[in-house]
């Protein structure tokens, strides 16, 4: 009975489930538009879209707040959340390790250090592409170091400790660069604001250049779903099933570099999303969650929802706009401790 046997697992690919998820996310995004200073109800938001679709003019305040400020910010949070969730799932699959993530392994910090260096040297003024490229290169450098340093030993503790060391080194590099240029107050302020990880002041500009790379990264990640599944059996067994190990590592690293690099360049360092999201996805999918064909899309949707939620919560709760980077680190740090308690006993 092959069909009934694979039935329950395959139902997750059912378009209805994903359609409902997308609908819920759209509704949440519309609700998020109403939250914040100024009184706008859901009706106003719908009216706004109706007017825009007709090509009409909005009342200037509504135009400024809803269209110019909140809409791109919300879209960007969805995009970045999906990208980081996806990057987390790829990283965990690649290292076959449930505690791995771009944040934990220092990949995000590496991207940040490269961007800070770019700020210090003033090269970010050369064009919009400079900061994302630097961030991507920073992320790739960290991945290269991780592969190099962990090639001889594959165990969990060793990988995590290497990540801790690289994280500290990249963080220190950022601090040193800032210290060296301390006389330039504007630079320090710019770098600090950016390192906090925030959607403040991000708009259609960032959305414009970040959409392409993040969407491409997510599609490329999905194309790797089967080799990532096979990797679960071990690298050599995967090779006997036709997986080119070197090629998979390179492609997966490029995907993670593209996603983390672009996200970090756009909004700064947002920690722990890549760690938490795949676990939530696996918890929801159950035994079906081992398959990356389901895990990757689920991580994108949940990542988007989490990022939107965190940013909206930050906007709603605090008059000062609590930085989402701080909030995700708060949630994620606690979650990480819980995971360590669960996995630390047997897995290492």
């Amino acid at each position: 009975m092959p069909n009934s046997a694979t039935g329950p697992a395959r139902s997750w690919r059912h378009p209805l489930v994903w359609s409902l998820g997308a609908l819920a996310l759209t509704l949440a995004a519309a609700l998020a538009l109403t939250i914040g200073p100024g009184k706008f109800a859901l009706g106003d938001v719908l009216e706004l879209f109706a007017t825009k679709l007709r090509g009409g003019q909005l009342e200037p305040t509504a135009e400024a707040i809803l269209w110019e400020l909140r809409l791109p910010r919300i879209l960007l949070s969805l995009l970045v959340g999906a990208g980081l969730g996806c990057a987390g799932a790829v990283t965990q699959g690649l290292f076959r390790n449930p505690l791995a993530s771009p944040g934990v392994l220092g990949i995000s910090t590496g991207a940040a250090a490269a961007v800070v260096l770019g700020f210090a040297l003033g090269v970010d003024e050369q064009g919009l592409w400079v900061t994302p490229t630097l961030a991507g290169l920073g992320a790739l450098t960290m991945l290269g170091l991780l592969f190099g340093l962990t090639s001889r030993r594959q165990d969990l503790a060793y990988l995590l400790l290497t990540g801790v060391a690289l994280n500290a080194l990249a963080g220190a590099a950022s601090t040193v660069i800032l210290a060296l240029f301390l006389d330039r107050y504007a630079l320090a302020q710019k770098a600090m604001a950016w390192m906090m990880g925030s959607f403040d002041g991000r708009g259609f500009t960032q959305l414009g250049w970040a959409s392409g790379p993040i969407l491409i990264g997510m599609i490329a990640a999905w194309a790797l779903h089967r080799p990532l599944d096979l990797l679960v059996l071990g690298e050599e067994t995967a090779a006997t099933l036709g997986v080119d190990r070197g090629r998979l590592r390179l492609l997966a690293a490029l995907v993670v570099g593209l996603l983390v690099g672009t996200s970090t360049a756009a909004v700064g360092v947002i920690g722990f999303v890549g760690l938490v999201v795949p676990h939530v996805a696996r918890a929801l999918l159950g035994v079906a969650g081992h398959a990356h064909a389901r895990l990757l899309p689920a991580s994108m949707v949940i990542g988007a929802a989490l990022m939107l939620g965190v940013d909206t919560l930050g906007r709603a709760l605090t008059p000062m706009f609590l930085a989402p980077g701080a909030l995700t680190s708060l949630i994620g740090g606690l979650f990480f401790l819980w995971l360590l308690r669960r996995h630390g006993g047997g897995a290492s």
Binding site: P2, A5, L230, L233, L241, V287
Partner: protein
Amino acid sequence: MTLRAENLGLRVAGRWLIRGCSFELSPGTVSVIVGPNGSGKTTLLRALLGLIPPDEGSVWLDGIPLARHSLRARARACAWLPQRTELPWGMPANELVMLGRAPHLSAFAGPGRADDLAVAAALARVGASELSTRDVRTLSGGELQRVLLARLLATQAPMLLLDEPTTALDVGHALGLLELARALAASGHGVIMSLHELELARRYGDRALLLRGDDVGGYVLGAAEDVLTPRLISEVFEVGTTIVDGQLRFHSVAP
């Protein structure tokens, strides 16, 4: 479909595990690799799969050097059961077996009806159809080994390379697995496996390759009953060996 080793030499840390060895694995036979711990049984299997390059000689698949075949073509010809398979996350048994279909699937298209049938047939062949939807983490050692073997069969590769498939099994499951290996050979598979149990190797192997573990790559190759003799076993494993009632008996000898 044949897998052939020609003048094969493998070396680890300056010691030759095997040297100057030529043999051919053909469908319909069970070949066993035996030898003391560290004599290179796993290394030899890995070389036959192309996971490591030989230090001397070459491995040929269907008259073409292994390295000239694509990874997918190799995967469709030779399936591997490693000593231990890591399963960090839970999954249903039938999806684990479906992983064996990977060499037949393209990057974007999902598995289809033919793949479902191949998975069901593989599970039925190892007598594990009723385990189909079970989370593999809940399976016993014997059940898991059968499901893992079904993963090899789903590949529909004619050559099956098994690395100590009976080590983690109790005697009943071990015999069951070896009977299955014989049945698979009878239906046209070429089976090559490393084994620790010499008596079982003698009983279930057609041909045997005994690695001496003598650091210069010495080996004995031949029919299982000619290779696994009390004299050779005593010599290589440094134990006293006799045959009682047609079965090998071992006793330790004073150093």
